[in-house]
Symmetry: C2
Subunit: 125 residues, 2 copies
């Protein structure tokens, strides 16, 4: 296991770890959770309120995945009622910055994309 990276990563190959990572990251709730956490620490309920339409199940699942991959940390306060906070790690902040660029781009180009869709729909048969 102490192998160096003597193989070339190839996101196109299903067996390549980079492919798997990309697959995990291609997820709407993951995007949104990362975006929400850019503004700092947040409690579970805060996130649930911010991510309109997310079920507790999906939010938990998403946050667990992010924690597993080292992109966020989860802190549990031993109080009643329970209090759990989530925060980006340095690695997570890097990634969130890139996702932020995607979001910014998406927002900036919504009009153009919607126009393209109308054009496309308009020339059907």
């Amino acid at each position: 296991m102490e192998s160096r990276d003597f193989v070339t990563y190839d996101v196109f190959r299903r067996s390549c770890p980079s492919h798997t990572v990309l697959e995990v990251l291609s997820n709407k709730w993951l995007y949104l959770a990362m975006m929400a956490l850019r503004s700092g620490r947040h409690r579970f309920t805060d996130l649930q309120r911010r991510l309109e339409g997310v079920s507790p199940k999906m939010l938990t699942q998403t946050l667990r995945g992010l924690e597993r991959d080292g992109l966020i940390v989860r802190e549990v306060f031993p109080v009643v009622p329970p209090r759990v906070e989530y925060e980006l790690t340095p690695l997570g902040r890097e990634f969130a910055r890139l996702l932020g660029q995607i979001c910014d781009w998406a927002i900036a180009n919504v009009p153009e994309i919607l126009e393209a869709r109308e054009r496309y729909a308009g020339r059907e048969k």
Copy 2:
């Protein structure tokens, strides 16, 4: 329809167009198709070969979506056997550049992410 952007886009709101756009973009095959097209024009079969494991159905669906949103153009040559080529639009190139950064980041951080996963798995009960 001639409305200016007097509303504030909010990716967290399900009804916001930017949310829809983000949702569409959260897709593995879309990522990979865009990456493959960064190197120029490609035929359907070329793409199918490049994207390991993609079925013709999913590839068609992915490419249609990208075409619909104005990110790629599809050119059909009236020959036998058929020849169809796909190419990024200027808008698509912009977006592909951002996705490329995500890919690069993913590849660069595969080791760190895999380590995080092992740590996470290791401290389970």
